[in-house]
Symmetry: C2
Subunit: 359 residues, 2 copies
């Protein structure tokens, strides 16, 4: 009974084992198995057979140490429980697997410190690249550092132009403006917007100038201005400043003397809060309030009236980020790619027309 280095049932077979079994050198075995260099058909066959017999599985750790590639991607997002990120992550994992990569997942809850920690840990694990939905567009030193050190980064959902990295986003400003224009076209003038802007994790919660939330707010403002509405902020509510619940924000808005006739929510979580407030107040959608939200979640199609939405191509966002990243990982050295995917306004039954005054 020989004493094995490892106790336990069976020490996994290694290249030397296979080589011995096949009667060739380790190099030949390695070449045959990994499929590089040149090996005679006979040798290749004998190695394959030997490997099969021994149940050989390559040690990816050892291989990674040499090649410098782990075939692992890091995904750093805010919160997997948010349907937007769940969809994005699904797109990422599917596209990654299709390209022969696995993905390490990290949630940040929009906390920049958590993001930095996550990036550090993932780099220590030698991910081949990083997909990051940045919590803040300022203080991106950790991303720049990763990129500079040869760990490509693709920005998702939010771009940070100064960094000069590939990015995959939607046109938040344009999409919001378009949605509000539709509300205006239906005759609405008192249109509210409820946003969380950066999700208000930190206390003073300065508004991140590059956040999607702000872009959506600006799109909203610009549509209002186009329509000759000068005071664009009367019906604007941002939760980050006061860490308020979207439902409270909505209640506040709807209880005012001159309440809005339409409301635009900057994401589906907010819309849910709004919806709940609306129904608590005994108001009806769309008769008393028209409602539009970013993100086409499952429930938006199931409630009655069905909710009109600005749909983002969530899975595609993730998939494109992976493709851009993988092409960088594999040496792609072309121009910085800024992919902007189209959003789609899906008109359903949550928007009613307001008769023009004196009509």
């Amino acid at each position: 009974m020989t004493t094995n280095r490892r106790s336990g049932p069976h020490r996994p077979a290694t290249i030397p084992d296979v080589a011995r079994e096949a009667g060739v050198s380790r190099s030949t075995a390695s070449r045959a198995l990994a499929g590089y260099g040149s090996v005679s058909p006979q040798a290749r066959e004998r190695v394959r057979a030997a490997a099969d017999r021994l149940g050989y599985r390559a040690n990816q750790l050892a291989r990674s140490m040499i090649t410098g590639r782990t075939h692992t991607l890091g995904a750093v997002i805010a919160d997997i429980q948010n349907p937007f990120f769940a969809g994005v992550t699904r797109g990422i994992t599917d596209a990654a697997r299709a390209a022969g990569y696995q993905v390490l997942l990290a949630n940040t809850d929009e906390d920049p410190a958590a993001e930095q920690a996550a990036v550090k840990t993932l780099r220590d694990k030698h991910v081949d690249g990083l997909i990051v939905a940045p919590a803040a567009t300022t203080d991106a030193g950790h991303l720049a550092a990763a990129h500079a050190a040869g760990c490509p980064v693709v920005l998702l959902d939010r771009d940070i132009p100064d960094l000069g990295m590939d990015s995959v986003t939607v046109d938040n400003h344009g999409a919001a403006r378009d949605a509000v224009r539709r509300l205006l076209a239906a005759g609405h003038r008192r249109i509210a917007l409820v946003s969380l802007v950066g999700d208000g994790v930190r206390d003073p919660a300065p508004v991140d100038p590059g956040s999607t939330g702000l872009a959506r707010i600006e799109g909203y403002r610009s549509a209002l201005r186009e329509a000759g509405i000068a005071d664009t902020d009367t019906y604007l509510r941002m939760g980050a400043f006061h860490q308020q619940d979207p439902a409270d924000l909505a209640r506040d808005l709807l209880a005012a003397p001159e309440p809005p006739t339409a409301l635009f929510a900057t994401d589906s979580v907010i819309a849910l809060g709004v919806l709940s407030a609306v129904r608590d107040l005994g108001l009806r959608v769309p008769e008393d309030l028209s409602l539009v939200t970013f993100d086409d979640t499952d429930w938006a199609r199931a409630v009655r009236p069905r909710i009109s939405v600005v749909a983002q191509p969530v899975q595609e966002l993730g998939a494109r980020a992976v493709r851009a990243l993988v092409s960088r990982v594999q040496g792609g050295t072309g121009e910085r790619e800024h992919i902007t995917l189209p959003t789609r306004f899906i008109a359903r039954e949550s928007v009613a027309a307001v008769p023009p005054p004196g009509g």
Copy 2:
């Protein structure tokens, strides 16, 4: 100008670099950095300083090759976009990070072949352990093999008793029976159940005897039998056999001559389909139909009436799985642990009382 092996800005510092900078041997540097063996305080300090100066970060790949530990866990689930799994995954990643582990994520869409492939890939990456929500409770050879080879597996959501692995589940049978009992207590006799049983990916879709879906169905049946309802399957609909849409199943059920007065959905995705059918038919909840579902998703609290649910402790499910797994990884060799977490019935407004006939 010396020629570096690696091109690029700066070759990352290694142990030899730090050792040289600190004027000690590699062994001492290694000990000081990784914190084992014994090192004099002075040496430790100098090494730390040198490492700092050089921006040294340990190569986890190399370390893993020696120690045999990657501090990475694999999570194999059905679909991250399903709110149940999103919550579970959130619990997994949070608990893992807290314990010093990262997680590799794989979706299977309930496809056993995809699950096998995922387990294989993750094992090749040398995860320290696996959390698996098994697609099928038969054909679990790949799980048994992993376990036998020293890669601990914790089963999540569904147990497979024969395997003798740790598991974290809820009492699906009991929870379903309890929910149906409440419906019965409210006076309902014609209670429907809509289930997908294994999600119907495969065509003939044999019902997996160990699936959560079947347990919930059995709980339903047993509550009905208790109440003296002999024919338990009149209002039972399983989608897997016909790959039907839950909304279609519900429409079919509700359009019958003697429609059910209450309906129990075995998960939130089904409930959404049911809800949409109910509203399309112009029926009201709960006046025309009482509704209860598994899983307390965001929308169940936001719609009106709010939906009564069987809430599962989703994050806790994930967190407990991680804790059980980590303790195995770290050598815990105790009894097999079968953790059953409690569900909670949350009564809201979607269940109405039916006056007893002739009352």
